[in-house]
């Protein structure tokens, strides 16, 4: 079934040609805001992290397979590209983690007013960067 709103979106341009008007929310003219950007990034990070769990499964499988297979897996992880991907997953993980707490608090009925929502949004960004940096500093310190 087509979107019922489409019935209201039929129009004609100045040449008299029928046109389909764009459906709300008109993403191309919508100003990005902290609320919408963080919300979109929550989904984006969630989808990206499913790639992360696949990598985790393969890493565990390599360890279960044989010492040789695991050596290859560890080399891939230690490569520059591997480290870059791993850093990306770290940021995504901590973002999804922090913003997930924000979502759980909303589900419990807290933090709905605009100023609180904006403040918790910035807290999430700060906490994400802090936790990701902390994890990598500790990782480098371990050696």
């Amino acid at each position: 079934m087509h979107d019922v709103r489409e019935t209201l979106m039929q129009g004609r341009n100045s040449d008299g040609q029928p046109v389909r008007r764009p459906l709300s929310p008109h993403l191309q003219v919508y100003k990005p805001q902290i609320s919408s950007v963080l919300s979109i990034f929550h989904r984006l990070s969630g989808v990206a992290l499913t790639g992360g769990v696949v990598v985790l499964a393969l890493w565990l499988a390599a360890a279960a397979e044989s010492p040789h297979t695991f050596l290859i897996a560890q080399r891939l992880v230690d490569s520059f590209a591997g480290q870059l991907v791993l850093f990306g997953f770290t940021v995504m993980l901590f973002y999804h983690f922090c913003n997930g707490i924000r979502h759980l608090l909303w589900d419990a009925g807290y933090g709905f007013d605009l100023s609180t929502m904006h403040r918790t949004g910035y807290i999430v960004i700060g906490a994400t960067l802090l936790l990701a940096a902390l994890a990598w500093v500790v990782g480098f310190a371990i050696g």
Binding site: T50, L58, A64, P67, F70, F97, L104, A135, V138
Partner: protein, 131 residues
């Protein structure tokens, strides 16, 4: 009493006749997503610490780590919650953005199959390392 009933009944008579509204399984999905998220809060910390502990480790060290019952249990719990939460999340994303019914059903089946495959791969691998 009547007032309470009408307040609780959110669907109009017409909406009920036309079959609008939930398919009666929405709350279960919503709850499962939240409960798996709550379980993943402590498990994520455990996971990050484990990855840091296992940084640069060889296979013998990983096996020794998973051989500890606590680690095996926590890693199994992590894998179950993680793959379950991933499936629930991807379901919502696919249902939201794929409007063609045939394609949506096909993609949901493919996604669930893939999540089950990699979830089982992770679980069996943890068990093999642990035992």
């Amino acid at each position: 009493m009547n007032e309470v009933n009408s307040a609780r009944k959110m669907r109009s008579a017409l909406g009920q006749v036309r079959g609008y509204g939930p398919a009666k399984s929405g709350l279960r999905h919503w709850r499962a997503q939240r409960l798996s998220a709550i379980a993943l809060l402590p498990l994520t910390f455990y996971f990050v610490i484990s990855i840091l502990v296992l940084k640069g480790a060889n296979q013998v060290a990983v096996r020794a780590y998973m051989h500890e019952p606590w680690n095996a249990v926590l890693f199994l719990g992590l894998a179950v919650c993680l793959f379950y939460h991933a499936q629930l999340g991807l379901e919502v994303v696919i249902e939201d953005y794929i409007h063609n019914e045939g394609r949506r059903v096909l993609l949901l089946l493919l996604m669930r199959g893939s999540v089950a495959f990699f979830g089982l791969l992770a679980t069996i691998s943890i068990l093999k390392l642990a035992l």
